[in-house]
């Protein structure tokens, strides 16, 4: 998976990431169904982001998960673990069969992302932890003259946590242009719509005011995701924030944009329908029209 730092050939990459996103969604659906687990909506909203990251952006090597020069990917929204484990398995960090153990007794794969699984950098699950740790990694890379980049994927709801804003102040102060924060902005948090609980808007302006270079994109458009992530850093000394507008439950019609699928697990019938919809989706994550 070690990729060239320049933009990979667009067509081949799109094909690869589209297939990868389909596999991630299907795996995550099967995992939460088998385990009767929650958070499928959160896993689906970030599946395209993960597919592009692991399918063409991150300089990582599944054969050497501890390779010193690897890019660091931190999933701060640890409740999206199902799709994060799925992308690691699908890209060869560990056998795909392990996914069947998700949330089972004695498994390595906990319901929130847990270190000890090849490719997982940080155990997460409590919100607001990833970006400060990402700042530390980026600061170390600067101090060591290392070339790796640090990517932190956050949820929108977790931006309620003050610790993130401490880190958002810190990164520009220390000119951490090797740091990329990605917000999976699916507009629904644990117990309500973001705008009704604690409105984040104007979100891009907030990051800009704190000194970040910001790109707002459709978080399901693989070409736009790849372009936005490849371009960072946009300005020397400035960290990058990618605000990815997404849909919670993306790719499964009856899950999309519904709070309930933060908690519910599909039954057998729902799983069959969901898998069929995912299999039929095109590169933009939309269902193909017949």
């Amino acid at each position: 998976m070690a990729n060239e730092s320049e933009m990979p050939e667009a067509g081949a990459m799109a094909e690869r990431t589209t297939a990868l996103a389909r596999a991630i969604r299907a795996d995550a659906l099967r995992m939460v169904h088998r385990a009767n687990a929650s958070h499928i909506g959160s896993s689906l909203s970030m599946s395209d982001l993960l597919a592009v990251l692991y399918g063409g952006i991150l300089r990582v090597d599944p054969a050497r998960p501890d390779w010193a020069e690897r890019d660091r990917f931190i999933l701060s929204k640890g409740h999206g673990a199902a799709s994060a484990y799925a992308v690691l398995a699908e890209t060869g960090f560990f056998p795909v069969e392990w996914l069947e153990t998700y949330c089972q007794d004695g498994s390595k794969l906990a319901g929130h992302l847990t270190r000890g699984v090849p490719g997982v950098e940080l155990s997460s699950g409590s919100l607001g932890h990833g970006l400060p740790v990402g700042c530390g990694l980026a600061l170390a890379a600067k101090a060591d003259g290392a070339a790796y980049r640090v990517f932190v994927l956050l949820s929108d709801g977790e931006l309620d946590e003050g610790s993130n804003w401490e880190a958002i102040l810190f990164a520009p102060q220390h000119r951490l242009d090797n740091l990329v924060a990605i917000v999976d902005y699916n507009k629904i948090q644990s117990f309500g719509r973001v705008e009704e609980v604690l409105n984040l808007e104007p979100l891009a302006d907030k990051w800009r005011a704190f000194g970040w270079e910001v790109r707002e994109i459709d978080g399901h458009d693989h070409a736009r995701i790849a372009e936005a992530l490849s371009g960072a850093p946009y300005e020397a000394g400035k960290p990058t924030a990618i605000i990815a507008h997404t849909v919670k439950g993306k790719g499964v019609s009856f899950m999309e944009d519904l709070l309930a699928w933060h908690y519910k697990s599909p039954n057998d019938e729902q799983l069959t329908q969901a898998l069929a919809e995912v299999a039929a989706a095109n590169s933009a994550g939309r269902e193909e029209t017949a």
Binding site: S124, V133, L137, E166
Partner: protein, 314 residues
């Protein structure tokens, strides 16, 4: 102790370029020495302890040995979940240094009284908890924690603590330091209250009570063997700490004694009991909690005398 800590850290950083120091916008007149000598490995993170602790975790994940520094509760309680999840859970090489623990910031009020920190820190997995008793122990503890893999907590007084040890003692994690022999009572102290504890033993001697003193800088892991030997040797074990009697050294020793085969030894816990609403200097607050030498001696003498009187009646 804080100056000893910083001097020691400078020596260590000279030899080991993995050592970093982060502070949460505190350390005026203390940390400048390190900042001037190692500007590339010093960060004032700002008044942002959660981020400080997360940044420390990230640096440690990249191979650094990171010390975080602030006053009393700030580097542990404000950011307790970062300490628990990011540092302890990941067994990272981050050493948290809290200065002014206990009651040295007494006049500042309860927000600045570090009197529950040991209870909190010793409950965390993989965390080594060390409370040095004097500047010599502080120097040795800093060395030991820097060299020891994994999370550490260094509980320091504020400054101006007297040197207790005449010679450099053997300092090891999980090992107590014997200070004074005594046949009736064993006083076990952790942290800067050690000097008062030794004076209490001298006062007790004047009253005909022979009190031994043990310094127990390593609270987690505790030197269980030394506690049990003392319990076999003397009728009373007395713990002394500038910390709540709940959850600290006294509780750790109580846990050992409660589960040990019957030794016949009784336990007295001396610690902070007066509650959060008292204002005053360290000496005043120590007196209020009977944590000055006279207060400790008085409490010890009263239980020993009472036990003696009861035994006499039988």
């Amino acid at each position: 102790m804080r100056n000893t800590f910083v001097s020691t850290l400078c020596e260590l950083a000279e030899r080991d370029d993995r050592i970093w120091l982060l502070c949460g916008d505190l350390g005026y007149s203390v940390l400048e020495k390190f900042a001037a000598r190692f500007p590339d490995r010093y960060v004032n993170v700002g008044v942002a302890e959660q981020n400080m602790t997360g940044v420390a975790a990230g640096l440690a994940m990249a191979g650094k040995v990171v010390f975080t520094y602030s006053i009393a509760n700030f580097p542990i309680m404000r950011c307790l979940e970062q300490v628990r999840n990011d540092i302890c859970y990941h067994r990272l090489n981050v050493k948290i240094v809290a200065v002014g623990c206990g009651l040295p910031y007494g006049t500042h009020g309860y927000t600045h009284h570090g009197v529950e920190d040991v209870a909190v820190m010793r409950a965390l997995p993989n965390m080594t908890v060390v409370a040095p008793g004097d500047p010599i122990e502080a120097r040795l503890a800093t060395h030991t924690l820097a060299e020891r893999e994994g999370p550490g907590y260094l509980r320091l007084g504020k400054g101006g603590e007297a040197t207790v040890h005449a010679d450099e003692p053997v300092f090891q994690i999980g090992r107590a330091i014997p200070v004074r022999e005594g046949g009736d009572v064993t006083l076990i102290a952790a942290g800067a209250i050690l000097a008062e504890t030794i004076r209490a033993a001298e006062l007790l001697a004047e009253r005909g009570i022979s009190a031994g003193v043990i310094s127990m800088p390593s609270i987690a892991p505790l030197d269980v063997t030394t506690v049990l030997e003392a319990a076999a040797r003397t009728r009373w074990i007395v713990t002394v700490e500038e910390h709540s009697v709940t959850g600290g050294l006294g509780s750790a020793v109580a846990e050992v004694l409660a589960e040990a085969p019957a030794t016949g030894a009784r336990l007295l816990r001396c610690g902070v009991t007066a509650g959060p609403y008292s204002v005053g200097g360290q000496a005043y607050l120590r007196g209020l909690n009977q944590l000055d030498a006279a207060g400790i001696a008085q409490r010890v003498a009263s239980v020993v005398d009472m036990a003696g009187a009861r035994a006499g009646r039988r």
